[in-house]
């Protein structure tokens, strides 16, 4: 390719390169946005594109991956006080200061030295309970000693308050600011993952993988028939498959729903709200893949299979031993295409699947977005996650995307 080029052409080449980079940036920008949103604190769709260390959080990812998120929330209605206790021991009393409703609690006596020796990573666990009645004022330590004790145990106590219903709630003593001039009672607020995102991801992968595999099986065998055999109605079926494929499946949602409702009453595993039914409906999209594979088969010289037939191969052997090994690149392409289109498909899946634990990721992640509350951050994390299996499948399939498999077999 060492062709001599005019100056003019070099400028145009540079311009084309520039255009390509800008174009790529435009394509990549939404992906970067989503990644940025998934790391951003809170659920905001607007903000910095490049997340900074201070404003970043892994909370959205934890929730997406099914891990509870802990938040220390200051309990403004509580004051820290200590009750008089034996030597070396302390009893913490969180009292209601009247600003916010707060149910006071009192801890069991704990060893101060032991508490001092603890760290914020390994806190001293202390049990506590709601007292029957407010202790007498004389039982409390004075303010100076209280402040000393508070400083000593701040960030080192994990107070588990037994609630009436038997569960416990965890409280901590933390400084209100970095300098540690004032202290407050903090409650450990646990946010459980709102949705089973990993389960959805597994559902998606399962459905997409089985669909793609079945599509490969169906499409290769049908394409072989269409490419190599002459039968009545061949052209008609081929054309009508192409034409019917032009109507989006969304148009037939009602029909699909009704159909699978009826199928389900005979074979429940293929009916509504089942992955079997969903896979069956996706297999309807096999027509385009048949066309793709048929086009590839037609580039392979039929004399190869005729030679195999003379060598004693049955049509199935000729197909499996000669044609299929030569068609691996197109099979990889079709597998990837079928996999991607299945994993990103929403309308049909959203109609056929109902139970929360049956949803695919593409459908399920929309649960994060409801008009009262758009959980953009959580949604973004789930969205990025849904791209993961596609990427992995593509990387795995790439090694099969090789050219020149048929080289040398026939005189070109």
């Amino acid at each position: 390719m060492a062709m001599v080029q005019s100056k003019n052409l070099k400028y145009r080449k540079a311009a084309a390169h520039l255009f390509m980079w800008v174009f790529l940036a435009f394509i990549l920008f939404p992906l970067l946005m989503v990644v940025a949103i998934s790391f951003r604190q809170g659920n905001y769709s607007v903000g910095d594109v490049i997340p900074s260390a201070q404003t970043s959080t892994l909370d959205h990812w934890k929730l997406a991956l099914g891990i509870s998120v802990h938040d220390n929330v200051r309990v403004r209605g509580a004051d820290i006080r200590f009750l008089k206790a034996d030597d070396g021991k302390a009893v913490l009393f969180a009292s209601d200061n009247g600003t916010d409703p707060f149910d006071p609690f009192v801890t069991a006596p704990f060893d101060v030295a032991q508490a001092k020796a603890s760290t914020s990573k390994q806190m001293l666990s202390v049990k506590a309970a709601h007292p029957e009645a407010e202790p007498d004022e004389s039982q409390f330590l004075d303010d100076g000693k209280t402040l000393d004790l508070t400083k000593a145990v701040a960030g080192k106590l994990a107070i588990d308050v037994a609630k009436d219903d038997g569960s416990t709630e965890r409280y901590m003593i933390e400084a209100n600011d970095k300098e540690g001039t004032s202290f407050g009672v903090y409650r450990d607020q646990v946010t459980p993952p709102p949705f089973p995102v990993m389960h959805w991801l597994w559902n998606s992968i399962k459905v997409a993988f089985i669909t793609a595999a079945l599509i490969i099986c169906l499409a290769t065998t049908s394409a072989y028939a269409f490419a190599r055999m002459r039968f009545r109605g061949r052209t008609f079926i081929l054309n009508s498959m192409l034409i019917f494929q032009m109507f989006p499946a969304v148009l037939a949602l009602v029909a699909i729903y009704a159909l699978f409702n009826r199928i389900g009453s005979y074979i429940p595993s293929l009916g509504l709200n089942s992955h079997g039914g969903l896979i069956l409906s996706y297999l309807g999209g096999v027509a385009l893949h048949i066309w793709t594979i048929k086009g590839y088969f037609e580039t392979i010289d039929p004399s190869l299979e005729q030679a195999a037939a003379i060598d004693g191969a049955t049509p199935w052997q000729a197909f499996r031993l000669i044609l299929l090994p030569l068609s691996v690149p197109i099979l990889a392409v079709v597998f990837i295409l079928a996999f991607i289109s299945t994993i990103t498909e929403v309308p049909v899946a959203s109609v056929l699947l109902m139970d929360m634990d049956k949803l695919t990721l593409a459908v399920g992640s929309q649960q994060y977005l409801y008009p009262q509350n758009y959980l953009w951050g959580d949604f973004a994390a789930a969205a990025v996650l849904s791209g993961l299996p596609i990427t992995i499948v593509f990387l795995l399939a790439q090694r099969w995307l090789v050219g020149g498999l048929t080289a040398g077999g026939v005189k070109g």
Binding site: D301, S303, L304, Q306, A307, A308, A309, I310, D311, G312, A313, Q317, L321, I322, P325, L326, G404, L405, T406, A407, G408, G409, V410, K411
Partner: protein, 393 residues
Amino acid sequence: MRQIQRHKMADVLLSKVRKNYNPSVLKDTLRNINLDIKDGDFIVFVGPSGCGKSTLLRMIAGLEDITSGDLVIGGKRMNDVPPSQRNIGMVFQSYALYPHMTVFENMAFGLKLKHMDKETIRQRVVHAADILGLEPFLDRKPKALSGGQRQRVAIGRCIVQQPSVFLFDEPLSNLDAALRVRMRLEISKLHRDINATIIYVTHDQVEAMTLADKICVLSPLQANAESNLEQFGTPLELYNHPVNQFVAGFIGSPKMNFINGTIAEIGDKTCKVKLATGEVLTACVDASRGEVGQKVQLGVRPEHLVAASSSKADGGTLSGKVIVTENLGAEFFMYLDVGACDEGVDFTIRHDFAVDVKSGDNFTIGIPAAACHLFDADGIAFPRTAVYTRAER
């Protein structure tokens, strides 16, 4: 050692074979083909493109069904027997090697499908590779081979199956000229060594003349013709005694010259023909079934023409204007406009040496009477009473 065990007897007999691709349309591709091919014969099907020669071969192979008629191989009717059980081997024009297999696997494929034991397979493949000089390439994929080597692998794939009939479908047409000549010789040697029946399709009549024991000339089927099998005979039979104008024109290179005329006088063993230009030529043919005044075409091969002054020019002379000359060194071609040929057809002369003429010159050529063929208006040849050989000159 170039030796292979004798194959079992395999006469191939075709009787009244007909092929029609689309029975709803009464347009046959082949009609009324009768061939009796003896065991060990090298048969060449030759004809212009579209004459159905490849179809006929594929019908023998079983890749096309036979519309009507019988195909008998080795005494057994094979019409409804699948290709793999006909005991034939076929070499395709495109070689049709399996690209994802090595040369060894390519040759062993059919044997593996027959569940032969590994040692026998290895022996047969190595033996075939030895015959074809393919041993160094057994581990290579076809794409790492040259055209000639690929062709040999395709032949080797047949040999290992030890078929009784080898079918070659234009096997050399994809090779370059030099390699074609070499492979032609190799195939000829192969036939001598394995002594199997070979049926070979080509459009190249040089291949046909050099390789064949017998040639079968096919023509594109005319609408109401009885058959499109024109002639079946040895190469020299076809060259010297073509039964009709089609065979005469097809066999021989350059093509035979045809001159329009009418019968002027019918002699005992000769016939005088008056050309459209007025010249009268004598031909050594038995025209007793013709009559004076009948329209005929006189054929004479370019290589049989002699100088006008030669004593061999006993058939008469013909003169015309030189259109083009071609000097190939070993031979010299001259194209004349003699006026008596069909419109747009030049009269070709082949000389062994260059003649000093230029385009536009007038030139006179001598025609030996013994070299003339005569065809009636339907193209059927009158029997020749003499055969001209150039050695006589």
